[in-house]
């Protein structure tokens, strides 16, 4: 490569580039990120802030790389979803998740991970909590049949036109109902969903 010539850009942002993209988010961008974290915070011990902080750490450490053609908020949303899903699956192996403490110096001993042996009782509790949360979410819309049908349809894996047809709503009404559902859930679970 000739002196002074720039290295060819890869298809992904470097951690420093991703950090710069996050750092320059607008105020609304930051708020949007927090709302997304709230939506994905499903795991019992972790709240929305833990989830968002973990997603940003993985990005800054280069463990997750943002493709150049993907919006940084969309990318962080995907990372949060992946972490939330992993946490939910691995609770029996890693029963405790919380934000990494910042106190202390670099010479401090590494954080001692909690006991990671599968615990049948804990798995059972976990499954019961998820079932209870699912039911509470459905019950939350007991007075709104359209919202309830939409919530159940989404949870059953329906999407797009099939979902809209089930609710019997036109495109605009469908989008408006989905917004209403989100805002209701936001109000009920301000720090992430808890059973």
């Amino acid at each position: 490569m000739a002196p002074g010539q720039n290295a060819p850009a890869t298809s992904e942002l470097t951690p420093a580039e991703a950090a710069a993209a996050i750092r320059t988010l607008t105020d609304v961008g930051w708020v949007r990120l927090r709302k997304i974290a709230r939506a994905f915070a499903l795991s019992r011990p972790a709240d929305a802030d833990d989830l968002l902080q973990r997603a940003m750490m993985r990005t800054l450490e280069g463990k997750r790389r943002c493709p150049r053609d993907v919006d940084i908020i969309k990318f962080l949303a995907d990372v949060m979803r992946s972490i939330a899903s992993d946490w939910a699956k691995a609770r029996r192996r890693r029963p405790d998740h919380r934000a990494v403490p910042l106190e202390g110096g670099p010479d401090d001993p590494p954080i001692d991970p909690p006991e990671d042996r599968p615990d049948q009782e804990e798995q059972l509790i976990e499954a019961e909590e998820a079932a209870r949360l699912r039911q509470r979410v459905i019950d939350l819309f007991a007075d709104d049949v359209e919202a309830q049908v939409m919530v159940e349809g989404i949870m059953e894996g329906m999407e797009g036109e099939a979902l809209r047809a089930t609710t019997g709503l036109d495109k605009t009404a469908f989008a408006s109902k989905r917004r209403q559902i989100r805002r209701q859930l936001d109000k009920t679970y301000p720090a992430g969903w808890k059973p």
Binding site: M56, M57, E61, A130, L133, R179
Partner: protein, 141 residues
């Protein structure tokens, strides 16, 4: 997102996907209005989230520092191991390595007789670094 969710957690994640899609589709103005309705201040809310990023940046930097320290410690350990080698034996090993691949080591071969013990150790360190030989100076199989 394809397939039917297998359990309650997956079902809840599907609902979260729909909510996130809605958040992504909301205009800036809609987000600001929501925040106002919730009684939150835009600047304060943004600052609180930015603070999470700052914390994440500190933790990530701390991790990098630990990695760098570990790399330096490993390098120092390797240098000490090479320093312990007998200079005559190291020089002999270097000669053998050069003899095995004279083209690759032409420059070193030319200078071989005038190199100090320190120079020879330096070359050995470089070769270890490149993965061409082991810490004890023997050629890698």
């Amino acid at each position: 997102m394809n397939g039917k969710p297998k359990n309650d957690v997956e079902q809840l994640l599907r609902l979260a996907d729909a909510l996130v899609e809605d958040i992504m589709n909301a205009s800036d103005e809609e987000i600001m209005n929501e925040l106002k309705d919730e009684g939150d201040d835009l600047a304060q809310s943004a600052a609180a989230t930015r603070a999470l990023f700052d914390k994440a940046a500190i933790v990530a930097a701390k991790g990098k520092l630990l990695d760098a320290k570990a790399a330096v410690a490993a390098n120092r350990q390797r240098s000490v191991a090479i320093l312990k080698l007998d200079p005559t034996k190291v020089r002999e090993r270097l000669r053998r390595i050069i003899a095995n691949d004279p083209e690759e080591f032409t420059m070193a071969a030319r200078k071989g007789d005038v190199l100090s013990d320190e120079d020879v150790r330096g070359i050995i360190e470089d070769l270890v670094e490149l993965g061409l030989i082991d810490d004890d100076g023997s050629a890698k199989k």
